[in-house]
Protein backbone atom coordinates (compact mmCIF):
# COMPACT_ATOMS: atom_id res chain seq x y z
CA UNK A 1 0.00 0.00 0.00
CA UNK A 2 3.05 2.22 0.47
CA UNK A 3 3.17 3.22 -3.19
CA UNK A 4 -0.39 4.50 -3.11
CA UNK A 5 -1.35 7.90 -1.77
CA UNK A 6 -3.16 7.15 1.51
CA UNK A 7 -5.95 9.53 0.48
CA UNK A 8 -6.71 7.18 -2.40
CA UNK A 9 -6.94 4.30 0.06
CA UNK A 10 -9.51 6.27 2.05
CA UNK A 11 -11.40 7.08 -1.15
CA UNK A 12 -11.35 3.45 -2.28
CA UNK A 13 -12.52 1.88 0.98
CA UNK A 14 -15.16 4.47 1.79
CA UNK A 15 -16.48 3.90 -1.75
CA UNK A 16 -16.62 0.16 -1.08
CA UNK A 17 -18.66 0.95 2.03
CA UNK A 18 -21.02 3.22 0.07
CA UNK A 19 -21.57 0.77 -2.79
CA UNK A 20 -22.11 -2.10 -0.35
CA UNK A 21 -25.45 -0.44 0.40
CA UNK A 22 -26.70 -1.69 -2.99
CA UNK A 23 -26.54 -5.24 -1.61
CA UNK A 24 -29.29 -4.25 0.81
CA UNK A 25 -31.92 -4.86 -1.90
CA UNK A 26 -30.92 -8.52 -2.32
CA UNK A 27 -32.99 -10.03 0.51
CA UNK A 28 -36.02 -8.20 -0.85
CA UNK A 29 -35.26 -9.25 -4.43
CA UNK A 30 -34.93 -12.90 -3.44
CA UNK A 31 -37.82 -13.36 -1.05
CA UNK A 32 -40.21 -10.46 -1.53
CA UNK A 33 -41.65 -8.53 1.37
CA UNK A 34 -39.58 -9.26 4.49
CA UNK A 35 -41.08 -10.26 7.84
CA UNK A 36 -40.65 -7.66 10.59
CA UNK A 37 -38.47 -10.10 12.51
CA UNK A 38 -35.87 -10.12 9.72
CA UNK A 39 -35.82 -6.32 9.65
CA UNK A 40 -35.32 -6.37 13.43
CA UNK A 41 -32.33 -8.70 13.16
CA UNK A 42 -30.99 -6.47 10.37
CA UNK A 43 -31.22 -3.44 12.66
CA UNK A 44 -29.55 -5.40 15.47
CA UNK A 45 -26.74 -6.44 13.10
CA UNK A 46 -26.27 -2.80 12.07
CA UNK A 47 -26.32 -1.72 15.75
CA UNK A 48 -23.80 -4.37 16.84
CA UNK A 49 -21.35 -3.47 14.08
CA UNK A 50 -21.64 0.20 15.08
CA UNK A 51 -21.08 -0.67 18.74
CA UNK A 52 -17.99 -2.63 17.75
CA UNK A 53 -16.65 0.28 15.71
CA UNK A 54 -17.27 2.66 18.63
CA UNK A 55 -15.41 0.27 20.96
CA UNK A 56 -12.50 -0.16 18.53
CA UNK A 57 -12.18 3.61 18.02
CA UNK A 58 -12.17 4.16 21.79
CA UNK A 59 -9.45 1.60 22.46
CA UNK A 60 -7.22 1.96 19.41
CA UNK A 61 -7.89 5.61 18.62
CA UNK A 62 -7.65 7.28 21.99
CA UNK A 63 -4.25 6.25 23.27
CA UNK A 64 -3.53 9.89 24.03
CA UNK A 65 -5.66 13.02 24.12
CA UNK A 66 -8.23 11.20 26.23
CA UNK A 67 -9.82 14.41 27.53
CA UNK A 68 -10.12 15.88 24.03
CA UNK A 69 -11.62 12.55 22.96
CA UNK A 70 -14.21 12.72 25.72
CA UNK A 71 -15.07 16.31 24.82
CA UNK A 72 -15.31 15.29 21.15
CA UNK A 73 -17.66 12.43 22.09
CA UNK A 74 -20.01 14.78 23.94
CA UNK A 75 -19.86 17.08 20.92
CA UNK A 76 -20.70 14.18 18.56
CA UNK A 77 -23.65 13.15 20.71
CA UNK A 78 -24.98 16.73 20.88
CA UNK A 79 -24.43 17.26 17.15
CA UNK A 80 -26.53 14.22 16.22
CA UNK A 81 -29.23 15.01 18.75
CA UNK A 82 -29.54 18.66 17.72
CA UNK A 83 -29.35 17.94 13.97
CA UNK A 84 -32.00 15.26 14.14
CA UNK A 85 -34.26 17.43 16.29
CA UNK A 86 -33.76 20.50 14.06
CA UNK A 87 -34.75 18.54 10.95
CA UNK A 88 -37.66 16.78 12.61
CA UNK A 89 -36.25 13.26 12.27
CA UNK A 90 -35.74 12.56 15.98
CA UNK A 91 -37.71 9.54 17.22
CA UNK A 92 -38.32 8.58 13.59
CA UNK A 93 -39.68 5.09 13.32
CA UNK A 94 -37.58 3.46 10.60
CA UNK A 95 -40.00 0.70 9.69
CA UNK A 96 -43.47 2.12 9.13
CA UNK A 97 -43.87 -0.04 6.04
CA UNK A 98 -47.42 1.08 5.34
CA UNK A 99 -46.96 4.78 5.98
CA UNK A 100 -47.33 6.55 2.64
CA UNK A 101 -47.09 10.09 4.04
CA UNK A 102 -44.79 12.09 1.70
CA UNK A 103 -43.05 13.65 4.72
CA UNK A 104 -42.06 10.19 5.94
CA UNK A 105 -40.38 9.51 2.60
CA UNK A 106 -38.06 12.51 2.67
CA UNK A 107 -37.36 12.08 6.39
CA UNK A 108 -36.22 8.55 5.74
CA UNK A 109 -33.86 9.62 2.97
CA UNK A 110 -32.49 12.38 5.20
CA UNK A 111 -31.85 9.99 8.10
CA UNK A 112 -29.90 7.66 5.80
CA UNK A 113 -27.86 10.58 4.46
CA UNK A 114 -27.06 11.76 8.00
CA UNK A 115 -26.04 8.27 9.12
CA UNK A 116 -23.66 8.13 6.16
CA UNK A 117 -22.03 11.40 7.18
CA UNK A 118 -21.34 10.32 10.79
CA UNK A 119 -19.95 7.00 9.58
CA UNK A 120 -17.74 9.00 7.21
CA UNK A 121 -16.20 10.79 10.20
CA UNK A 122 -15.56 7.38 11.77
CA UNK A 123 -13.84 6.04 8.62
CA UNK A 124 -11.71 9.18 8.14
CA UNK A 125 -10.63 9.25 11.78
CA UNK A 126 -9.93 5.49 11.88
CA UNK A 127 -7.75 5.78 8.74
CA UNK A 128 -5.69 8.43 10.54
CA UNK A 129 -5.17 6.12 13.53
CA UNK A 130 -3.59 3.69 11.06
CA UNK A 131 -4.49 2.62 7.54
CA UNK A 132 -4.99 -1.10 8.33
CA UNK A 133 -7.19 -0.16 11.29
CA UNK A 134 -9.14 2.27 9.11
CA UNK A 135 -9.61 -0.36 6.42
CA UNK A 136 -11.05 -2.85 8.88
CA UNK A 137 -13.41 -0.19 10.25
CA UNK A 138 -14.46 0.80 6.72
CA UNK A 139 -15.21 -2.85 5.95
CA UNK A 140 -17.22 -3.19 9.18
CA UNK A 141 -19.26 -0.13 8.18
CA UNK A 142 -19.63 -1.53 4.65
CA UNK A 143 -21.32 -4.60 6.14
CA UNK A 144 -23.31 -2.30 8.43
CA UNK A 145 -24.61 -0.46 5.35
CA UNK A 146 -26.20 -3.64 3.98
CA UNK A 147 -28.87 -4.21 6.68
CA UNK A 148 -29.35 -0.44 6.90
CA UNK A 149 -30.12 -0.40 3.18
CA UNK A 150 -32.34 -3.46 3.65
CA UNK A 151 -34.59 -1.52 6.04
CA UNK A 152 -34.51 1.47 3.66
CA UNK A 153 -35.46 -0.75 0.72
CA UNK A 154 -38.36 -2.35 2.58
CA UNK A 155 -40.01 1.04 3.01
CA UNK A 156 -39.20 2.27 -0.49
CA UNK A 157 -40.69 -0.86 -2.00
CA UNK A 158 -43.89 -0.58 -0.03
CA UNK A 159 -44.14 2.93 -1.50
CA UNK A 160 -43.88 1.53 -5.03
CA UNK A 161 -40.23 2.35 -5.75
CA UNK A 162 -38.71 -0.30 -8.08
CA UNK A 163 -35.86 -2.31 -6.55
CA UNK A 164 -33.22 -1.04 -9.01
CA UNK A 165 -34.04 2.52 -7.96
CA UNK A 166 -33.99 1.49 -4.32
CA UNK A 167 -30.47 0.11 -4.84
CA UNK A 168 -29.41 3.36 -6.53
CA UNK A 169 -30.96 5.48 -3.80
CA UNK A 170 -29.34 3.40 -1.05
CA UNK A 171 -25.92 4.01 -2.61
CA UNK A 172 -26.64 7.69 -3.37
CA UNK A 173 -27.51 8.38 0.29
CA UNK A 174 -24.02 7.09 1.14
CA UNK A 175 -22.07 9.27 -1.30
CA UNK A 176 -21.52 11.78 1.49
CA UNK A 177 -19.89 9.00 3.48
CA UNK A 178 -17.12 8.96 0.86
CA UNK A 179 -16.89 12.75 0.82
CA UNK A 180 -16.82 13.14 4.61
CA UNK A 181 -14.27 10.30 5.01
CA UNK A 182 -11.86 11.96 2.60
CA UNK A 183 -12.38 15.47 3.99
CA UNK A 184 -11.90 14.34 7.60
CA UNK A 185 -8.81 12.34 6.59
CA UNK A 186 -7.21 15.30 4.79
CA UNK A 187 -8.23 18.12 7.14
CA UNK A 188 -7.59 16.32 10.43
CA UNK A 189 -4.48 14.76 8.93
CA UNK A 190 -3.04 18.23 8.43
CA UNK A 191 -4.02 19.28 11.97
CA UNK A 192 -3.00 16.27 14.13
CA UNK A 193 -4.16 17.77 17.47
CA UNK A 194 -7.70 17.46 16.09
CA UNK A 195 -7.48 13.65 15.83
CA UNK A 196 -8.73 12.80 19.34
CA UNK A 197 -11.59 15.25 18.77
CA UNK A 198 -12.54 13.53 15.50
CA UNK A 199 -12.26 10.04 17.02
CA UNK A 200 -14.34 11.16 20.00
CA UNK A 201 -16.92 12.84 17.76
CA UNK A 202 -17.39 9.63 15.79
CA UNK A 203 -17.69 7.54 18.98
CA UNK A 204 -20.30 9.86 20.52
CA UNK A 205 -22.28 10.08 17.29
CA UNK A 206 -22.27 6.32 16.62
CA UNK A 207 -23.20 5.39 20.20
CA UNK A 208 -26.07 7.88 20.20
CA UNK A 209 -27.34 6.67 16.81
CA UNK A 210 -27.38 3.02 17.72
CA UNK A 211 -29.00 3.74 21.08
CA UNK A 212 -31.59 6.22 19.88
CA UNK A 213 -32.55 4.60 16.56
CA UNK A 214 -31.27 1.13 15.72
CA UNK A 215 -31.69 -0.69 19.03
CA UNK A 216 -35.08 0.67 20.17
CA UNK A 217 -36.32 -0.04 16.64
CA UNK A 218 -35.11 -3.61 16.69
CA UNK A 219 -36.63 -4.35 20.11
CA UNK A 220 -40.06 -3.62 18.69
CA UNK A 221 -39.50 -6.01 15.76
CA UNK A 222 -38.13 -9.21 17.28
CA UNK A 223 -37.60 -10.91 20.65
CA UNK A 224 -35.13 -9.31 23.06
CA UNK A 225 -32.97 -12.43 23.32
CA UNK A 226 -32.49 -12.79 19.58
CA UNK A 227 -31.79 -9.05 19.22
CA UNK A 228 -29.19 -9.17 22.01
CA UNK A 229 -27.50 -12.22 20.47
CA UNK A 230 -27.29 -10.74 16.96
CA UNK A 231 -25.97 -7.44 18.35
CA UNK A 232 -23.31 -9.16 20.48
CA UNK A 233 -22.08 -11.43 17.70
CA UNK A 234 -21.81 -8.45 15.33
CA UNK A 235 -19.86 -6.53 17.97
CA UNK A 236 -17.58 -9.51 18.56
CA UNK A 237 -16.77 -9.70 14.85
CA UNK A 238 -15.60 -6.08 14.84
CA UNK A 239 -13.54 -6.62 18.01
CA UNK A 240 -11.84 -9.56 16.25
CA UNK A 241 -11.37 -7.54 13.04
CA UNK A 242 -9.93 -4.53 14.87
CA UNK A 243 -7.40 -6.71 16.64
CA UNK A 244 -6.26 -8.39 13.44
CA UNK A 245 -5.49 -5.01 11.84
Amino acid sequence: MSATDPTLTVLAYSSVAAFAAALGVLPQAVSGRLPLRILGWGNALAAGLMLGVAYALLTAGLTDGVLAGGAGAVLGLLFVRVTHAATGVQDLDLNRLDDLDPAYGYQLVLVNVLHGAYEGVAIGAAMLVSLPFGISMALALAVHNVPEAMAFTAILESRGVPLRHAAGLAVATKFNQVLVSVVVFVVVGSLPPLLPWAVGFAVGALLYLLLSELLPESYSQAGHTSIALVTLVAMGIVVALAGAA
Binding site: L211, S212, L215, Y219, I227, A228, L229, L232, G236
Partner: protein, 245 residues
Protein backbone atom coordinates in the same frame (compact mmCIF):
# COMPACT_ATOMS: atom_id res chain seq x y z
CA UNK B 1 1.42 -9.50 57.88
CA UNK B 2 1.86 -12.12 55.19
CA UNK B 3 1.26 -11.17 51.60
CA UNK B 4 -1.69 -13.55 51.40
CA UNK B 5 -3.54 -11.82 54.25
CA UNK B 6 -2.67 -8.47 52.74
CA UNK B 7 -4.09 -9.44 49.31
CA UNK B 8 -7.26 -10.66 51.03
CA UNK B 9 -7.66 -7.44 53.05
CA UNK B 10 -7.02 -5.23 50.03
CA UNK B 11 -9.52 -7.18 47.95
CA UNK B 12 -12.05 -7.02 50.79
CA UNK B 13 -11.68 -3.25 50.93
CA UNK B 14 -12.41 -3.03 47.22
CA UNK B 15 -15.54 -5.15 47.73
CA UNK B 16 -16.77 -2.84 50.49
CA UNK B 17 -16.27 0.15 48.19
CA UNK B 18 -19.01 -1.27 45.93
CA UNK B 19 -21.51 -0.41 48.67
CA UNK B 20 -20.73 3.30 48.25
CA UNK B 21 -22.50 3.06 44.89
CA UNK B 22 -25.86 3.07 46.68
CA UNK B 23 -25.24 6.53 48.18
CA UNK B 24 -26.39 8.64 45.20
CA UNK B 25 -29.82 7.08 45.65
CA UNK B 26 -30.17 8.83 49.02
CA UNK B 27 -30.88 11.91 46.91
CA UNK B 28 -33.49 10.31 44.65
CA UNK B 29 -36.64 10.79 46.65
CA UNK B 30 -39.43 9.80 44.33
CA UNK B 31 -39.15 6.71 42.18
CA UNK B 32 -41.41 7.35 39.18
CA UNK B 33 -41.55 5.24 35.99
CA UNK B 34 -39.26 7.78 34.34
CA UNK B 35 -36.69 7.36 37.12
CA UNK B 36 -36.85 3.60 36.56
CA UNK B 37 -36.17 4.06 32.84
CA UNK B 38 -33.35 6.51 33.34
CA UNK B 39 -31.76 4.45 36.13
CA UNK B 40 -31.67 1.48 33.77
CA UNK B 41 -30.12 3.71 31.09
CA UNK B 42 -27.36 4.75 33.53
CA UNK B 43 -26.77 1.15 34.62
CA UNK B 44 -26.55 0.12 30.94
CA UNK B 45 -23.95 2.82 30.24
CA UNK B 46 -21.87 1.90 33.30
CA UNK B 47 -21.85 -1.78 32.38
CA UNK B 48 -21.10 -1.14 28.69
CA UNK B 49 -18.21 1.16 29.62
CA UNK B 50 -16.90 -1.37 32.16
CA UNK B 51 -17.12 -4.14 29.53
CA UNK B 52 -15.13 -2.04 27.05
CA UNK B 53 -12.37 -1.89 29.68
CA UNK B 54 -12.56 -5.64 30.35
CA UNK B 55 -12.40 -6.51 26.64
CA UNK B 56 -9.44 -4.25 25.96
CA UNK B 57 -7.59 -5.69 28.95
CA UNK B 58 -8.56 -9.24 28.00
CA UNK B 59 -7.41 -8.88 24.39
CA UNK B 60 -3.97 -7.81 25.64
CA UNK B 61 -3.65 -11.26 27.26
CA UNK B 62 -5.30 -13.17 24.43
CA UNK B 63 -7.83 -12.22 21.77
CA UNK B 64 -9.37 -15.61 21.08
CA UNK B 65 -9.64 -16.41 24.78
CA UNK B 66 -11.46 -13.12 25.39
CA UNK B 67 -13.95 -13.75 22.59
CA UNK B 68 -14.38 -17.38 23.66
CA UNK B 69 -14.93 -16.26 27.24
CA UNK B 70 -17.55 -13.74 26.10
CA UNK B 71 -19.42 -16.51 24.32
CA UNK B 72 -19.39 -18.61 27.50
CA UNK B 73 -20.64 -15.57 29.43
CA UNK B 74 -23.61 -15.20 27.07
CA UNK B 75 -24.46 -18.90 27.32
CA UNK B 76 -24.22 -18.61 31.12
CA UNK B 77 -26.83 -15.82 31.18
CA UNK B 78 -29.10 -17.70 28.78
CA UNK B 79 -28.99 -20.75 31.06
CA UNK B 80 -29.60 -18.63 34.17
CA UNK B 81 -32.55 -16.96 32.44
CA UNK B 82 -33.94 -20.36 31.53
CA UNK B 83 -33.61 -21.51 35.16
CA UNK B 84 -35.31 -18.40 36.50
CA UNK B 85 -38.06 -18.80 33.89
CA UNK B 86 -38.76 -22.23 35.38
CA UNK B 87 -40.32 -20.51 38.39
CA UNK B 88 -43.79 -19.08 38.29
CA UNK B 89 -43.10 -15.38 37.76
CA UNK B 90 -46.25 -14.35 39.61
CA UNK B 91 -45.05 -16.13 42.72
CA UNK B 92 -41.47 -14.93 42.51
CA UNK B 93 -40.63 -12.61 45.40
CA UNK B 94 -37.32 -10.91 46.00
CA UNK B 95 -36.81 -8.04 48.45
CA UNK B 96 -39.78 -5.70 48.06
CA UNK B 97 -40.63 -6.75 44.50
CA UNK B 98 -42.41 -9.64 42.89
CA UNK B 99 -42.78 -11.00 39.38
CA UNK B 100 -40.89 -9.33 36.52
CA UNK B 101 -39.06 -6.86 38.80
CA UNK B 102 -37.91 -9.59 41.17
CA UNK B 103 -36.62 -11.66 38.25
CA UNK B 104 -34.64 -8.73 36.81
CA UNK B 105 -33.05 -7.93 40.19
CA UNK B 106 -32.00 -11.54 40.71
CA UNK B 107 -30.49 -11.75 37.23
CA UNK B 108 -28.63 -8.48 37.77
CA UNK B 109 -27.16 -9.75 41.05
CA UNK B 110 -26.15 -13.05 39.45
CA UNK B 111 -24.43 -11.24 36.56
CA UNK B 112 -22.59 -8.80 38.80
CA UNK B 113 -21.56 -11.49 41.26
CA UNK B 114 -20.14 -13.88 38.66
CA UNK B 115 -18.32 -10.98 37.02
CA UNK B 116 -16.63 -10.28 40.38
CA UNK B 117 -15.00 -13.71 40.21
CA UNK B 118 -13.12 -12.64 37.07
CA UNK B 119 -12.26 -9.31 38.62
CA UNK B 120 -10.92 -11.03 41.71
CA UNK B 121 -8.66 -13.14 39.49
CA UNK B 122 -7.49 -9.98 37.72
CA UNK B 123 -6.68 -8.39 41.11
CA UNK B 124 -4.74 -11.44 42.28
CA UNK B 125 -2.77 -11.67 39.04
CA UNK B 126 -1.82 -7.99 39.14
CA UNK B 127 -0.63 -8.39 42.74
CA UNK B 128 1.39 -11.36 41.57
CA UNK B 129 3.47 -8.87 39.62
CA UNK B 130 4.86 -7.50 42.90
CA UNK B 131 3.53 -5.83 46.03
CA UNK B 132 5.02 -2.41 45.35
CA UNK B 133 2.08 -1.16 43.35
CA UNK B 134 -0.44 -2.94 45.57
CA UNK B 135 -1.88 0.15 47.25
CA UNK B 136 -2.27 1.95 43.96
CA UNK B 137 -3.98 -1.03 42.32
CA UNK B 138 -6.30 -1.46 45.33
CA UNK B 139 -7.40 2.15 45.27
CA UNK B 140 -7.97 1.96 41.52
CA UNK B 141 -10.09 -1.17 41.77
CA UNK B 142 -12.02 0.12 44.78
CA UNK B 143 -12.93 3.23 42.82
CA UNK B 144 -13.84 1.07 39.80
CA UNK B 145 -16.25 -0.87 41.98
CA UNK B 146 -18.28 2.19 43.00
CA UNK B 147 -19.99 2.54 39.58
CA UNK B 148 -20.82 -1.16 39.73
CA UNK B 149 -22.62 -0.48 43.00
CA UNK B 150 -24.40 2.40 41.27
CA UNK B 151 -25.50 0.04 38.47
CA UNK B 152 -26.86 -2.54 40.94
CA UNK B 153 -28.62 0.11 43.03
CA UNK B 154 -30.04 1.68 39.85
CA UNK B 155 -31.83 -1.59 39.15
CA UNK B 156 -32.81 -2.38 42.77
CA UNK B 157 -33.74 1.00 44.25
CA UNK B 158 -36.61 1.61 41.75
CA UNK B 159 -38.07 -1.73 42.88
CA UNK B 160 -38.54 -0.28 46.36
CA UNK B 161 -35.41 -1.78 47.94
CA UNK B 162 -34.00 0.50 50.67
CA UNK B 163 -30.70 2.32 50.11
CA UNK B 164 -29.07 0.36 52.94
CA UNK B 165 -30.07 -2.96 51.40
CA UNK B 166 -28.91 -1.77 47.94
CA UNK B 167 -25.52 -1.08 49.52
CA UNK B 168 -25.58 -4.48 51.22
CA UNK B 169 -26.35 -6.38 48.01
CA UNK B 170 -23.71 -4.37 46.16
CA UNK B 171 -21.08 -5.49 48.67
CA UNK B 172 -22.32 -9.09 48.45
CA UNK B 173 -21.95 -9.00 44.65
CA UNK B 174 -18.28 -8.07 45.09
CA UNK B 175 -17.41 -10.63 47.77
CA UNK B 176 -16.07 -13.15 45.22
CA UNK B 177 -13.25 -10.65 44.63
CA UNK B 178 -11.36 -11.31 47.89
CA UNK B 179 -12.18 -15.01 47.63
CA UNK B 180 -10.68 -15.29 44.14
CA UNK B 181 -7.84 -12.80 44.60
CA UNK B 182 -5.92 -14.97 47.07
CA UNK B 183 -5.72 -18.20 45.01
CA UNK B 184 -5.01 -16.16 41.87
CA UNK B 185 -2.15 -14.42 43.70
CA UNK B 186 -0.73 -17.71 44.99
CA UNK B 187 -0.95 -19.54 41.68
CA UNK B 188 -0.42 -16.61 39.36
CA UNK B 189 1.47 -18.57 36.69
CA UNK B 190 -1.21 -21.24 36.55
CA UNK B 191 -4.03 -18.70 36.47
CA UNK B 192 -2.61 -16.24 33.94
CA UNK B 193 -3.67 -18.21 30.82
CA UNK B 194 -7.25 -18.25 32.11
CA UNK B 195 -7.32 -14.47 32.55
CA UNK B 196 -8.54 -13.51 29.02
CA UNK B 197 -11.29 -16.13 29.31
CA UNK B 198 -12.35 -14.73 32.68
CA UNK B 199 -12.33 -11.13 31.51
CA UNK B 200 -14.17 -12.06 28.30
CA UNK B 201 -16.72 -14.02 30.31
CA UNK B 202 -17.42 -11.01 32.54
CA UNK B 203 -17.72 -8.67 29.54
CA UNK B 204 -19.94 -11.01 27.53
CA UNK B 205 -22.28 -11.55 30.47
CA UNK B 206 -22.54 -7.83 31.21
CA UNK B 207 -23.08 -6.67 27.61
CA UNK B 208 -25.69 -9.36 27.12
CA UNK B 209 -27.46 -8.30 30.33
CA UNK B 210 -27.44 -4.70 29.05
CA UNK B 211 -28.91 -5.69 25.69
CA UNK B 212 -31.47 -8.19 26.85
CA UNK B 213 -32.77 -6.57 30.06
CA UNK B 214 -31.57 -3.07 30.88
CA UNK B 215 -31.97 -1.28 27.55
CA UNK B 216 -35.40 -2.74 26.66
CA UNK B 217 -36.59 -1.76 30.16
CA UNK B 218 -35.07 1.72 29.78
CA UNK B 219 -36.82 2.26 26.42
CA UNK B 220 -40.05 0.93 27.86
CA UNK B 221 -40.15 3.58 30.58
CA UNK B 222 -38.15 6.45 29.09
CA UNK B 223 -38.00 8.35 25.78
CA UNK B 224 -35.51 7.21 23.13
CA UNK B 225 -33.61 10.48 23.08
CA UNK B 226 -33.15 10.78 26.83
CA UNK B 227 -32.21 7.12 27.23
CA UNK B 228 -29.72 7.33 24.34
CA UNK B 229 -28.24 10.59 25.66
CA UNK B 230 -27.87 9.31 29.21
CA UNK B 231 -26.41 5.93 28.22
CA UNK B 232 -23.95 7.48 25.75
CA UNK B 233 -22.77 10.06 28.31
CA UNK B 234 -22.38 7.34 30.94
CA UNK B 235 -20.32 5.13 28.61
CA UNK B 236 -18.04 8.08 27.81
CA UNK B 237 -17.71 9.05 31.49
CA UNK B 238 -16.93 5.45 32.44
CA UNK B 239 -14.25 5.13 29.74
CA UNK B 240 -12.60 8.43 30.79
CA UNK B 241 -12.81 7.35 34.42
CA UNK B 242 -11.04 4.06 33.67
CA UNK B 243 -8.35 5.78 31.65
CA UNK B 244 -7.44 8.10 34.49
CA UNK B 245 -7.11 5.35 37.09
Amino acid sequence: MSDVVLVFLYALATALATGLGALPFLFVKEVSDRVVGLSNAVAAGLMLGASFGLVSEGTVHGRLGTLGGALVGVVFILVTQRLLAGYDEEKMVFEAARGEGARRMLLMLVVMTVHSFSEGVAVGVSFGGGMTLATLITVAIAVHNIPEGVAISAVMRPQGVSVARCAGWSVVSSLPQPLMAVPAFLFVEAVRPALPWGLGFAAGAMVFMVLVELLPEAFHEGGRQEVATLTTLTVIAMVLFQRFL
